[in-house]
Amino acid sequence: MARVAVDVVIKSEILDPQGKAITAALARTGHPGVTSVRQGKHFDLEVDGTVSDADLEEIAGTLLANPVIETWTVTRLDPAPSAVAAGSAEAEPEAAL
């Protein structure tokens, strides 16, 4: 079993109303240093050995993302997770998901 992360974001030229609302909320609550937020989707996949990189691209491009308005990145997380800082008081490590 391997772990794969797929991040899907709305293309930069397309309006992201959610990101807009969050940026405004952060400014109101004392975080004006965050100048822009874009919200997308994050998928944690568990895949077995039969799933190739090409399969992952296809899965991302046909099901997880809508190519008309979104772009995506596929990241194989094993063996070494790429996050450089992870944290949450209550969080179990991401690998436990």
Binding site: E13, P17, K20, S36, V68, I69
Partner: protein, 654 residues
């Protein structure tokens, strides 16, 4: 095209400049570095009459382009070309249908007009319903965008019609949706149907507009070209009606709502792209720019605050008129406002709040970014107007003013890029007398009756047939759709599904205190139903349109309301096919004659052509909406039987 504008991404750092994430709150705009090429100004256009322009790519015919040159006495600038091409498109100019639509006016008698405060030609028709109230209502199509991106296409369709109603000074109080899909079991229907229904729901529900009815029909002719028609009803006090016009020199033009981005300007990118193909410096940015999807993403939250702010500035009497921005964006809003006014207009594009760092004048004018409105405000009210926008956290900018003289003049980076008579853009587009011909195949179609179909001959077969019918996609329960729509919000829905027509109570919908309506006096309401059986219309477009009218009329009557006015959304195939034009003209004549017979006027409508897939036209689908008035909503007729013991079932008519 050899004269790119500075916004047109031939800058070496174009990819980086494409960084157009959305810095909300960052009000000041970075002045884009002037690119190597000059802006295509009016002056430049005068000096370069022979410059080739991509007018054909923009959908203009040779004679239309020649006509523009004749109007202007020179070649149009890139920005002017963008404006004319979009405003003279079928969608905005009704060039194929105009000659036939006139028949509605010709058949509307003075008596029918008695209750009409505004009719065809305004953003939406307005009907006086007595007691000082008026109602405005309209159906509009968003068919093609909904096929490309079902959720957003349908969502922005709802958003567009709501802004139309709002521009009349009315509070939107309800929506309806008329949907046509390919076969329910076709593979693409799994993408299209849930997406469109969720889009209608997602936008309408978020606006707090109860959905009080609609239609869902499946037919193979809509595969590849679903129909998404959305209707909105608004209520106002008759004294408070506004029409969108820019009058009074010195009055300020304010653009408010969302920022203007690169949404829905796919077509216009030809004005910029040619020069850059293969440009090694342009890199990914240029590619992205040239492949701009013509998709717009809706922001219902932005629209909700836009509604509240707009109603507040209307109520406070701060504006002369307001125009919504829909298809054709600022091109449409500025030219229509100016054309409807008594003077001209000056617009400064540098004042338009942008969402992308670099946009050419043509792009700013053509952008179809959603959730924007354009207001004409007397100078002394501008501060108060902006204060309302601030209260609702809406961006607003003064982008120009009404001027003496009859020109629409638009500047960008301090230079004049548009200088046109606004009427020529907004109203004097081409009018086609397209060939009309009843198709030879029509007789065979009519001759192929149901006579040859097998009939059930035993009780079991009858049972089987009945079960097949009630389980068929066109007759089964619509709950999967209607359960996704909020029909309760704002508490004025007196009838919605499964009733044949929706009813809205209006006194409270306008915000009159519930206390006044707690009194047991009659409470006025409006009913609306929309219908169309396109298979009937295929067989006989004239009678089919009348049947649609009659069905909607009956559906209003059976709730207890009195039918008062009619709107329509005429969805047809390719107008270059004479048989489609025959269907259209027949349907218009049938509907108009039917309305004259019933004595209720058509107050507005919408035409959607080119609904075809791979050469196959959709069934002719003239959706007809009938609006009715009910004096006391407590006396509405609840659908179904069995509410009280001892009810008697009567069959009327034959």
């Amino acid at each position: 095209m050899t004269a790119p504008e500075p916004g047109a991404l031939h800058h070496p750092d174009a990819a980086e400049l494409l960084d157009i994430t959305d810095p909300v709150g960052a009000v000041e705009l970075v002045e884009p570095p002037a690119g190597p090429g000059p802006i295509d100004t009016v002056e430049r256009a005068e000096g370069s009459p022979d410059e080739e322009q991509p007018y054909r790519e923009l959908g203009l015919k040779d004679d239309e382009y020649a006509r523009i040159r004749e109007i202007l006495g020179r070649r149009p600038t890139a920005a002017e070309l963008a404006m004319y091409s979009v405003m003279w498109s079928e969608h905005c100019s009704y060039k194929s249908s105009k000659v036939h639509l006139r028949y509605f006016g010709e058949t509307t008698t003075e008596a029918m007009k008695a209750q009409m405060l505004a009719g065809i030609g305004e953003n939406a028709g307005v009907v006086d319903i007595g007691n000082g109230y008026a109602v405005t209502f309209k159906v509009e199509s968003h068919n093609h965008p909904s096929f490309v991106e079902p959720y957003q296409g349908a969502a922005t369709g709802v958003g567009g019609i709501v802004r139309d109603i709002l521009a009349m000074g009315a509070r939107p109080v309800a929506v309806m949706d008329q949907l046509r899909f390919g076969p329910a079991d076709a593979p693409d229907s799994q993408r299209v149907v849930p997406g469109i229904v969720a889009g209608v729901a997602g936008y309408g529900n978020s606006l707090g507009l109860p959905n009080i009815g609609g239609e869902v029909v499946f037919d193979p002719s809509y595969a590849g070209n679903p129909l998404v028609n959305a209707a909105c009803i608004g209520v106002l006090r008759s004294a408070d009606m506004y029409t969108a016009h820019a009058s009074g020199a010195g009055n300020q033009v304010v653009l408010y709502g969302s920022r203007t981005g690169l949404d829905g300007i796919g077509g216009v990118s030809v004005l910029a792209s040619d020069t850059f193909s293969g440009d090694a410096h342009a890199g990914g940015g240029s590619n992205a720019r040239r492949k701009l999807p013509s998709v717009q993403v809706g922001d219902p939250f932005a629209e909700k605050v836009l509604i509240e702010a707009t109603l507040e500035v209307f109520a406070a009497g701060l504006v002369v008129g307001i125009q919504d921005l829909g298809g054709a964006g600022l091109s449409c809003a500025t030219s229509e406002l100016a054309a409807a006014g008594d003077g001209g207009m000056r617009i400064d594009l540098d004042a338009v709040p942008l969402r992308a760092d670099i946009m050419s004048a043509a792009e700013i004018l053509s952008s179809e970014s959603q959730e924007r409105m354009c207001a004409v405000v007397p100078p002394e009210n501008v501060e108060a107007f902006l204060a309302v926008c601030r209260k609702w956290e809406i961006e607003a900018a003064v982008i120009g003013e009404v001027t003496e003289g009859g020109r629409l003049v638009i500047t960008h980076h301090g230079q004049t890029v548009v200088d046109v008579p606004p009427r020529t853009v907004a109203h004097e587009g081409p009018v086609y007398e397209r060939p009309v011909a009843r198709p030879d195949s029509q007789d065979a179609l009519i001759a192929d009756t149901t006579a040859g179909l097998a009939r059930p001959s035993s009780p079991d077969e009858l049972r089987e047939l009945l079960l097949t019918m009630i389980a068929s996609p066109n007759l089964c329960s619509r709950a999967w759709v209607t359960d996704q729509y909020d029909r309760y919000v704002r508490g004025n829905t007196v009838l919605a599904q499964p009733a044949d027509a929706g009813i809205i109570r209006i006194s409270e919908a306008l915000g009159d205190s519930p206390a006044t309506t707690l009194l047991d006096g009659p409470e006025r309401g409006i009913a609306m139903a929309t219908d169309c059986n396109s298979r009937y219309t295929m067989l006989d477009p004239y009678t089919g349109a009348q049947l649609a009218l009659a069905e909607a009329y009956r559906n209003v009557v059976t709730t207890g309301a009195v039918p008062t006015a009619v709107t329509n959304c005429l969805n047809f195939g390719n107008p270059e096919d004479p048989s489609v034009m025959w269907q259209l003209s027949q349907a218009i004549h049938g509907l108009a004659d039917g309305c004259a017979e019933l004595g209720i006027p058509v107050t507005g409508g919408n035409v959607s052509l080119y609904n075809q897939t791979a050469g196959t036209n959709i069934l002719p689908t003239p959706v007809v909406g009938v609006l009715g008035i009910i004096d006391d909503v407590r006396r509405r007729t609840i659908p179904g039987i069995g509410h009280d013991d001892g009810e008697t079932l009567l069959l009327l008519g034959d």
